[in-house]
């Protein structure tokens, strides 16, 4: 039963992912990606990774994607006619990606894979994850604060307007 849900979800995920990269309008891409993320969240739920399910929806589908959408709108890029790459480049891209996939799958399938289905566990519950995060992984957790601080400062540094720029734009 759960397997069927998995396959349906998988099919939809792949489909929306493809739609995402194929859509001409960036806004459509964003929307497809949001759907993809929701579907992936479904996968998390399926694996009983509740914490991740929630975080994924909040952080990714919610915060990050909204940010994307916001920037797109801000920059007025929601046009239908985004300049497209030439067919040749696209083909090269698709072929490369396809080859990557084939190679990857080829390599991974060779392994003596188990056909056992995934166990149902409750490691993904918030309580369990919290335990691990604040005991074993407290060092990286703390250190990621540096990352955030740096990202914040960086975003401000790059993003804020300043005098010279104003002049450049007014010209």
């Amino acid at each position: 039963m759960l397997s069927y849900i998995f396959y349906i979800l998988s099919g939809l995920t792949i489909l929306t992912a493809i739609m995402m990269i194929a859509a001409r309008n960036p806004v459509h891409s964003v929307l497809y990606l949001i759907i993809t993320f929701f579907l992936i969240s479904g996968q998390y739920l399926l694996m009983n990774a509740q914490f991740l399910f929630v975080v994924n929806i909040i952080v990714y589908a919610g915060a990050i994607m909204v940010l994307f959408l916001f920037v797109l709108m801000l920059l007025n890029l929601n046009k239908e006619t985004e300049p497209q790459k030439s067919m040749k480049t696209k083909l090269a891209g698709v072929i490369s990606g396809g080859l990557l996939l084939v190679n990857l799958l080829g390599a991974l399938v060779k392994s003596n894979s188990s056909t056992e289905s995934l166990p149902i566990t409750d490691v993904g519950l918030v309580k369990n994850l919290g335990m691990v995060l604040f005991t074993d992984f407290v060092v990286p957790f703390e250190i990621s604060s540096i990352l955030f601080l740096a990202a914040m400062v960086g975003a401000v540094l790059v993003g804020k307007r300043h005098k010279g720029e104003m002049e450049a734009i007014s010209e």
Binding site: S3, F6, S10, T13, I14, A17, I18, M20, I21, P26, S29, L33, I40, Y44, M47, A49, L52, N56, V59, Y60, I64, F68, V71, L72, L75, L77, P83, K85, A92, G93, V94, S96, G97, G98, L100, L105, L108, V109, S113, S114, T115, E116, S117, L118, T121, V123, G124, N128, L129, L133, F137, P140, S144, L147, A151, G154, A155, V158, G159, E165
Partner: protein
């Protein structure tokens, strides 16, 4: 529940789609989105392994990936905005001033 292999397949496919997206799109923002898709594929894989091993560490890692992704997106979008302000475009194909 499907076996772990299928999860690997799924995330490989998603990863590859992300890669293809990076390769065929010109819009910087969309490119960033494709990278996010790749990261999500990885997240999925981690979660699947974590579930398979009944080990929370994998899921914690996913958490960190999300953290990093958020930070990255913040910086990335800031850079894109900066570029846009200077060139009125986020088309990466136009960025070829640095070459010899």
């Amino acid at each position: 529940m499907p076996p772990i292999d299928h999860y690997i397949w799924l995330s490989s496919i998603l990863f590859s789609i992300g890669v293809i997206g990076v390769l065929i799109r010109r819009n910087g923002i969309v490119l960033l989105m494709c990278v996010e898709l790749m990261l999500n594929a990885v997240n999925l894989l981690f979660t699947a392994f974590a579930t398979n091993f009944q080990d929370s560490a994998g899921q914690v890692f996913v958490f960190f990936i999300m953290v990093v992704a958020a930070a990255e997106v913040a910086v990335g979008l800031a850079i894109l905005v900066m570029i846009y302000r200077n060139t009125k475009s986020v088309d990466i194909s136009l960025l070829d001033k640095l070459k010899q």
